[in-house]
Structures are given as C-alpha cells and as structure tokens.
C-alpha cells in the first residue's frame, strides 16, 4: 500500500441541482462565478459542483438559491470535482451516485410544487401522508373470511 495525501484537505464539496423550467445550470453557473471568490465551480448537466471553504461555498449557495429557491436543491458530496476515483471522464459510463440523483430528479417536480404550495399554506392544515400511518396487521378473522371466500 502507498501513502495517501489528500488533495483538498479542509474543503467541502456540494452539489447544486436545478429542476426548473425557467433556470438552467448555465444561468446559475454565471451567478455563481459572479460571487465565487475562491470557490471552484464545475457546471454539470444537472447543476453545479462547488468546492471550497465551507463558509464560502455556503455563501455562493445562498446567492444562487435566490434565483429560484423552490427549484434549486443542494446536497453534500464526499469527493472533490473531477476526482479520478469518481469522475466519469476517467472511468467511463455514469458516475457512481448519478443514478441516485437521476431517480430523485423524477420526484423533484412534486417537491418543488410542494415548496411553492407551502409558501402560502400552513403545513399544519395538510393531512398526514398515508405511508406514515401505522398499518394494522391482518387479523385472523379477516384471513379466515379470505380463505372461505376462495373458489374451490
């Protein structure tokens, strides 16, 4: 085994994902470059990858989010942008982890719609989702009925 020296120790990397009809990754990239000041910015097909000191990255994200707050989403990333262990330019095919974002991109329109709704509705008036309610187990009497109802 070889010694390992981390390339960007002390930095944080975050994804900025855009799901909007009005804003493109290029739009937020331009705004991010305007306020970057030491933050490394990489434009991708779904948004941006930002890397730098935590406070600088958070500042850029706060500025970028103002463009379309309900349609811009952020998450942490472990690796710096372009890292050969993860970047598809070195590996080929989709980057490991892209499929997770791809799956959630199909749900983001519902989440964006909900955030817009919650802007003018109180969340306390919205019913609890069916999935959070405790599901009761099948009792023996119902099971017996099901068995008896079965065609011979």
């Amino acid at each position: 085994m070889k010694d390992y020296t981390p390339a960007y120790a002390g930095s944080v990397t975050k994804y900025v994902v855009v799901e909007s009809f009005n804003v493109t990754p290029a739009d937020i990239a331009i705004r991010a470059y305007e306020v970057s000041q030491g933050v490394m910015i990489k434009e991708t097909c779904f948004g941006l990858v930002l890397m730098g000191k935590e406070e600088d990255v958070d500042r850029v994200i706060a500025e970028v989010r103002k463009i379309d707050p309900d349609h811009i989403f952020v998450k942490d990333r472990g690796f710096p942008p372009g890292d050969v262990r993860r970047c598809r330019s070195a590996l080929g095919g989709a980057r490991p982890g892209f499929h997770g974002i791809e799956h959630e991109m199909t749900i983001l329109p519902y989440v964006s719609h909900a955030l817009e709704e919650l802007g003018h509705r109180d969340e306390k008036t919205i019913p609890v989702p069916e999935s959070t309610k405790k599901k009761s187990k099948l009792d023996v009497y119902t099971l017996q009925k099901l068995i008896e109802a079965e065609e011979p």
Binding site: D3, K75, G78, I107, H113, P129
Partner: protein, 148 residues
Amino acid sequence: MAKVLIYPATSLILSDMVTRFGHIPLSSAVAIRERVQTAGLESAPLQITPEEPKKGLHWAAVEVPSGVRGRMALYGPMVDECEAAIIVNDADLSFGCMGCARTNELLKFLIRQKDVPRLELDYPKDEAEGVEFVAAIKRFLNGLGGGK
C-alpha cells in the same frame, strides 16, 4: 439545530429538506469526505481500509460479513450521533449488492431501536402526495426545535 440522520443516506431530497428547514443532515457524503480528506494509506476508491470492518464490530456481530461491518463503520457513528431520523421506506435508489441490502436493513433496525424522534415516509407519486410529503417533513423538523 438537531443532527438528523437521513435514509437513504445519499438522498438529495432529504438532505436538502433538512438543511432548508434549519437542521444538520447526517449523510454518507460527510462520512466519505472525512475519509477522503484524511492522510494515511491509499485504499481507492473510498479510502475504506482493513481497519473499518474492525470498527464496524461496534454495531454488527463478528459473524456478520466484513462488507456489512465495513459499511457500518461509516453509518454507525452517524446512528450514535443523530438526534432525529427521517426514513424513506420505498427507496429503490439504495438498492445495491447484498452487502448494501443487509447494511440498509441493519441501519434501519438500529435507527428504530434508538430512542429518537423518527419520521417514516414513502416517496411521493404525484403532486398531492408531494405536498403531504414535504409538509410532514417540515412539521417534523419544526417540532424538533432549535432550527436555524
């Protein structure tokens, strides 16, 4: 600000919601970043060394496969640290090899065993469900108190 463990630990939506409503998400990216940014011996791609399955013994028994124990070295400290948890149960994106599947089961079990506020949901399938999904998360996170 409460530390909220999210499952799936790589979820963009949950990570964003927790940050948006003023708390700290505990996700796998942060655990990986910690390893990627620590000097030591090179062990590509995730800097998971032979030490990790030993650390995993804290959360999984010795007869549990080393793949699960190695993964638990990432997730276990987050379970210990968390003050609340949000679980999405029908998360197909967390599907992986048998090691991932068993780790996911163990992780969910450990979260449910721990005495912390917990919210369990399914991903929304339309706009109406989306509103209920986000409202449930917002109610839950506001209820934790101390949000930014």
